[in-house]
């Protein structure tokens, strides 16, 4: 069984519903895969509880997913740093996957410096979300696509990432005739995606089981 630790800021005033939908989507996929132990942190949790969870994993590799806001050096829950430069050492032997904007800038470097296997996130601060429900689903599908592929097995982290980028591009083009603005934003988000897996290009879900 692979360990999956999910943090989601469902209480966020503006994007809480979106973060919660992403959480539901990835949990449903994990349950369908039938090979994951899931732990969760919602908006009520903090960095201490995060560290406690990871401590119980006893060095077993894990996947960490964060549906939350971010800045260049932190992922935030309820506006408070959850993952920051003082606890990145907890993420050695992990795959770090987040939709938080900007986290691909310095947080990823710090995580990798502490032996995090791989990081997938966004380098751009303008990771935007459209409001209309139809488009939100498209954005969510893209955001979770790479992780779902990876969790499904047999696909390396690099292949998952490349297919995720292609998914963004394909979906943007599909959306173009109905909403060119949303399509452009989706493509911009896809272009802001960032993978750091140097030395771990062949990482697969088997490395977490």
């Amino acid at each position: 069984m692979a360990r999956l630790l999910i943090a989601y800021d469902s209480a966020d005033r503006h994007l809480g519903d979106y973060f919660l939908s992403c959480r539901h989507d990835i949990c449903a996929h994990a349950e369908a895969c039938n090979d994951f132990l899931i732990d969760e942190l919602d908006s009520e949790h903090d960095d201490f509880q995060l560290e406690q969870y990871i401590s119980t994993y006893a060095e077993q590799p894990f996947i960490f997913v964060a549906y939350a806001h971010g800045c260049s050096d932190a992922v935030l829950l309820s506006g408070t740093p959850l993952v920051h430069n003082r606890n990145t050492y907890f993420f050695g032997k992990s795959l770090f996957y987040t939709c938080a904007c900007d986290a691909g800038i310095s947080l990823s470097e710090n995580l990798r410096a502490h032996n995090c296997y791989a990081f997938i996130g966004f380098t751009d601060k303008s990771n935007l979300q459209p409001r209309a429900t139809d488009y939100v689903n498209v954005f969510m599908s893209c955001e979770n696509y790479g992780l779902k592929l990876f969790m499904g097995g047999g696909v390396s982290i690099v292949e998952s990432f490349e297919k995720m980028r292609t998914m963004y591009s394909d979906q943007a083009i599909s959306l173009l005739s109905t909403n060119p603005v949303a399509a452009s934003l989706l493509l911009a988000n896809g272009n802001a995606l960032y993978l750091d897996a140097q030395g771990q290009e062949h990482l697969t879900i088997a490395d977490f089981q």
Partner: protein, 207 residues
């Protein structure tokens, strides 16, 4: 439902006549209803501000009569209200423009200058070029698409930034029109252009 923004050629000149060869040529090119002539600047400015949903090219004469503002003051007044219209400066005596006037035109993005007594063959291509440039602007292309949407939908919340700011489609358009003054507007322009490049790269040239 409206799907294309009309082109308007607005001429502000106290000396222009309906049978001027340039007027006839413009009416043939863009249709009679597309050419509006104003002998006084205030009427012209009023028309421009009331028709910002059109693509407007303004032909603005420098010398508008003894008791009227000069063209550079009118140009400044237009620019204070909108950057959307394209302005061509007209004068019978271009060399007489002062350095201050020229600096003002360049800094506020006048499209071109034309000599009013040059023929249609010289001036019409400059005006057509201005119209074409207007058609290629990202804000105009986006506006054409936005106008295809139901007016109520254009005002509905469309986009949420991670910071929590919410924008309607009309507000997205306004941000784009602010040009360099809006970081978000610049981001949109870049994203839309990247989308076009992505399409071209996929051999789908028919945008």
């Amino acid at each position: 439902m409206k799907t294309e923004i009309p082109i308007k050629i607005v001429i502000i000149d106290d000396n222009f006549r309906d049978n001027d060869p340039l007027i006839i040529a413009l009416e043939e090119e863009y249709g009679e209803k597309s050419v509006e002539i104003f002998l006084t600047p205030n009427k012209g400015i009023e028309y421009i501000l009331n028709n910002l949903s059109s693509k407007i090219v303004v032909l603005l004469d420098m010398d508008l009569g003894e008791n009227e503002k000069r063209g550079d003051a009118v140009f400044k007044e237009i620019r204070e209200k909108t950057t959307l219209v394209t302005v061509i400066i007209m004068s019978a005596n271009l060399p007489a423009l002062t350095n201050d006037e020229l600096r003002g035109f360049i800094n506020n993005h006048a499209f071109s200058t034309i000599k009013s007594n040059d023929g249609v063959k010289v001036n019409l291509p400059i005006i057509k070029n201005a119209v074409n440039k207007l058609n290629l602007r990202v804000d105009c292309a986006l506006e054409e698409w936005i106008l295809r949407n139901n007016p109520d939908d254009r005002e509905k919340p469309f986009l949420t930034l991670r910071s929590g700011e919410i924008y309607s489609l009309n507000q997205v358009l306004n941000e784009i029109r602010k040009g360099h003054e809006s970081e978000l507007g610049m981001f949109f322009q870049k994203s839309i252009l990247n989308m076009a490049v992505e399409l071209l790269a996929r051999q789908k040239e028919s945008l």
